[in-house]
Subunit: 410 residues, 2 copies
């Protein structure tokens, strides 16, 4: 029997009024409430009680990985988040476009953000044209927002044991990357070669000539920091012997799902924001259930509204999810043929505008789920639910209800 996991990003909330109700509790969600009446609820600490999770660590934990073991630094997950194809063993570094000046053979940093470059995309091509083949490394560079980007290095010699080239101050020299251990010597050399070659490629770039003509600082160097290796994750699809599908707008969620072995489906209109086409996501989820035992749906808008500190928008988006996503899902599916889990990856109270450590509500529905007395989907009702409180591991629990879990022991 297949299972479907729906994560509403930043779903959890805090009391917004004197009665203690949250955005979710104030939202009108007749479909989720009917599902709650049929299933069982509980509270999940995404990572552990009192841990304020990032979206990356929370999703690792929800998929059943221990983030304290596998989360090796934000660089690798940031690269996932901007849509790079990061695989286990790849080393990623956070990158800044910067303005430098050559002085006696050194590169001196004049501006760490190249005048807050509005968009580094036009420079991607020349940077991706740089070869580090003599070091046995493949390279990929991607620009993200403004002056930011990420560099990915793949190959035998890739190592995260290297220091930053970013001197973190204006007027200083671009630093030489140093190896932190003997095995990283060639990696440090490769990074220093990249730095020189990037400067050469960017120095004479026509767009930088244009910037200089307009009196703007040229984006003529790439500063690197925070080398982090992507861990080798055992795909849950292999561990469980199943097929998995992911329906998400945001790159990070697609990336984590891909690492976990799920096939990412492109859904036109799934934009990863408040305008996302929820009907298209529901149709894609129903279609994915035809060919996969695990379907993971990620809906981001709840978190966006909460980061914008807009409680009204969060509540309205939850109501739209109930109407446009869960209504078609609930009317198409028969709960003796599929299991459903609905939760969030963390709490984002609009009054805070950031992730907090509070637990999130969880709902399981399906024939294997022992029903409880709770009849509404909300934080406080989940606290009275039959599933109690636990940390992460929604996917293993969902697959367990679906009788897809491997046995640990005999």
């Amino acid at each position: 029997m297949p299972g479907i996991l729906v994560i509403l990003d930043g779903l959890g909330g805090r009391p917004t009024d004197l009665e203690g109700a949250t955005c979710l509790e104030r939202a009108s969600t007749p479909v989720l409430d009917a599902l709650a009446a049929r299933g069982a609820l509980g509270l999940m600490d995404p990572v552990a009680p009192g841990v304020r999770p990032g979206s990356d660590t929370a999703h690792l934990s929800i998929f059943g990985y221990d983030p304290f073991q596998v989360y090796t630094g934000r660089g690798a997950f940031e690269a996932l988040g901007i849509g790079m194809d990061v695989r286990g063993g790849d080393v990623c570094l956070r990158a800044n476009f910067a303005t430098v000046e050559e002085r006696d053979g050194d590169l001196i940093v004049l501006d760490r953000r190249a005048g807050r470059l509005p968009d580094g995309k036009p420079f991607e091509e020349v940077l991706n044209g740089i070869s580090l083949e003599e070091f046995g490394l493949e390279l990929a560079f991607r620009a993200s927002t403004e002056h930011r980007g990420a560099l990915l290095l793949r190959g035998e010699g890739a190592s995260a044991a290297v220091t930053d080239t970013d001197p973190h101050e204006v007027g200083a020299r671009v630093a030489e990357a140093q190896a932190k251990d003997g095995r990283a010597l060639r990696m440090a050399e490769a990074i220093n070669a990249f730095t020189r070659r990037a400067h050469e490629a960017l120095r004479d770039h026509p767009l930088n000539r244009d910037r200089e003509r307009r009196g703007e600082p040229p984006a003529n160097a790439v500063l690197l920091r925070g080398a982090a290796v992507m861990p080798h994750l055992e795909p849950i699809t292999a561990e469980y012997g199943i097929r998995g599908a992911c329906i998400a707008g945001g790159a990070l969620y697609k990336g984590v799902a891909r690492l976990a072995g799920l096939a990412v489906r492109d859904v036109p209109g799934a934009s990863g924001d408040l305008q996302t086409d929820l009907g298209a996501k529901a149709r894609a989820a129903l279609s994915a259930l035809e060919g996969a035992e695990l379907v993971f749906v990620h809906i981001k808008g709840t978190d966006n509204a909460a980061h914008d500190r807009n409680a009204q928008a969060k509540r309205a988006f939850i109501e739209r999810v109930d109407r446009e996503f869960f209504a078609p899902i609930a009317s198409a599916l028969s709960w003796d043929r599929v299991h459903l889990c609905v939760s969030g990856d963390h709490t984002t109270p609009p009054a805070v505008g950031e992730h907090t450590a509070d637990p999130v509500p969880v709902l399981f529905v399906g024939s294997a789920v022992r029903p409880d007395r709770v009849r509404a989907f909300g934080e406080r009702s989940a606290g009275e639910g039959g599933l109690g409180r636990f940390s992460g591991r929604l996917v293993p629990q969902l697959l367990g209800y679906c009788d897809l879990g491997p046995k640990f022991g005999a």
Copy 2:
């Protein structure tokens, strides 16, 4: 926003009557019940379900450390508990004053407790006068109750990989400490030097001459056992970037708090027993909130009464805590400006007179806490509370509600 954590030692109980009520539930606690009505309750396993915790392991877990990782043996925490200034890397050994006799150059144990020496304090000075400088080690000795004490060794060569000098039987030779690994060779030599020098210093001590004159066995040797290293703990104050304050009577609690980075405040009248001045503790806590984001208050009397197997005294003390501590706290604080957590470090049922593995009730109050329907502070009501059941980690959860937590991930 600051947070205050109040631990009533050994608070949890077991049914004391046919109705299943505990001491806490039988106690009249109008202030705690009003706080319960405003906040949310749950049950905590101090370390993990079914683990019968010591006060040391429970407090480590409550502060967010994993006692299975950092609890390296009771010696180091016992030394904390008798008020020694134990720091990360220090090695502590449990010590007994004993009576020995020299025979052919060996020391033969005649009495492992020197006739149950009533007080080893008068011998502290000569023992602290011993130098182990040639081994690169500093030394501190402290007597505790009767014939007991602790030896602390600090320095580059300090190692816990040494065997006991205590032969654990009468008539046997005082053992030579042996190194369990190559790096502990000098440590073993240092301990054997201490043993010889302690014997020389004690042998001719005037108090021992007096004891011999009275026909009492002299306390002329120190037997050592259970070498344990104090782990290097990352102070939570550094991890969270906050200031912390501790208000406690007992040395162990002050010691753990100091390791966690909290500043220990001296409160006259806070005696760590049933006679403690609870009003003084409340005033100290309120004053500490002016200059710290985390205030930890430890109240010991509940556990003392339970170890004395006195259910009536435990109940009466809980009522006094409600009246003399929580009443002034609740009337002084505004719950939109501070978060409060009230719990115990373990269960000590008076009928057992010892720590048991049962979970303990937890109450959180403050604007970030989703209220539940529970309106009384007790073990069974906590089992119906909105926070469910979890293991330890009260301090991370409290600081999470206060929006003081670092983010794990991005």
